[in-house]
Amino acid sequence: MDQTRNQPSARKFLSWFIPVGRQVGGWAFALSRVTAIGLTFYLFLHLYVLRLLALGPGHYDEFLKLTENPIIKLGEWAVVAAVFLHGFNGIRIVLTSFGVGVTRQKQLFYGFMIAAILVILIFTVRMY
């Protein structure tokens, strides 16, 4: 008997993010995990950048000019989008964790994702 093939393995971590063969809750899980990793990365980047505030006016204002750069702006937009996707999905997880709407988790996901996309759209309009 082949004992190794088809077994759980840490090397299969990419499967968390592959939506093939996954269903609604699986997409939510993938989305939640991707945004979580992205936001954690952003959090520490943000903290690092903010040290410029302690260094004095010149450095920080120079940095703020960078935010006019379209790529940085796109990055900011991505952070905002990730926050809303993660946040709305998080509300769904909190609700279901305490038994609220747990048998309606698919509908909850669709509802919250529509809400998230609407808020992101509003933000996009305001940002650009």
Binding site: D2, Q3, R5, P8, A10, W16, G26, F29, V102, Q105
Partner: protein, 242 residues
């Protein structure tokens, strides 16, 4: 007049120590037959070396779980009509996260050991079964009736769970659901098994288990409920109210 479809059954093949591949079998099927019937037909008329597990053919034994076009299905109750169309391909693969014995047959051992570890109930009073449409009120006499538990131990949830894919140590949806079914208040010794890193806290609410469960056990809901049971017990302990 019985409808006939031409389909290609694409079967995952893997023999001891050999590389895996897929074999295609062209066959005429009645679309109202089940996927398991197509696999059995491939074995009976095309290739006697195909290994697969099956027993009851009506969703009581849980032996015939496979991945059909990538999604976990109990093949004995999955009509061909629901998963493919005339002239198309039907791909069957073994469950994920189980050791493959051969082809579509997997070793249920590790999974059954977990079910045994939580003492999953095989039979229970009818009145304790959670069913979709329970009577508004059970007759008091009904508690004498015993029924087989809803969980078929088919392993579909263990295969679909994205967390199971990376951590064999995770107890998994069905064993956690079985613990919830017994109740921590009734069986406090289960607390030490479910309240640990590999227990109830590993679930990240993907609800894939619930989506694939062929028997309406709804492991996702049960895991959520089990968490509140654990938190409730721990808070009571903390505040000295056992």
């Amino acid at each position: 007049m019985v409808e006939t479809w031409k389909i290609t059954l694409r079967v995952y093949r893997q023999k001891e120590n050999q590389e895996s591949h897929f074999d295609d079998f062209q066959m005429d099927v009645n679309p109202d037959e089940y996927v398991l019937d197509a696999v059995e037909r491939a074995w009976a008329f095309h290739d006697r070396s195909i290994c697969f597990r099956h027993a009851c053919h009506h969703s009581t034994c849980g032996a015939c779980g496979m991945r059909v076009n990538g999604v976990e299905k109990l093949t004995c109750i999955t009509p061909i009509r629901e998963v493919t169309h005339n002239g198309a391909t039907l791909k069957v693969e073994p469950l994920r996260n189980f050791p493959v014995v051969s082809d579509l047959a997997v070793d249920m051992g590790p999974f059954y050991r977990k079910m045994e570890a939580v003492g999953a109930r095989a039979v229970l009073p009818v009145t304790e079964a959670e069913i979709e449409n329970p009577p508004s009120k059970w007759d008091p006499d009904d508690s004498q009736y015993i029924r087989l538990s809803d969980c078929l131990e088919c392993g579909l949830c263990m295969s679909a769970c994205p967390i199971m894919a990376t951590t064999p140590a995770y107890l998994g949806p069905a064993p956690l659901a079985a613990a919830q079914d017994q109740g921590l208040r009734r069986k406090p010794e289960l607390l030490s098994i479910v309240d640990c890193e590999d227990g109830v806290w590993r679930c990240h609410s993907a609800f894939e288990c619930t989506a694939v469960c062929p028997s309406f056990v709804d492991p996702g809901r049960r895991i959520m409920n089990l968490r509140t049971q654990v938190v409730d017990m721990k808070l009571r302990k903390l505040f000295g109210k056992a």
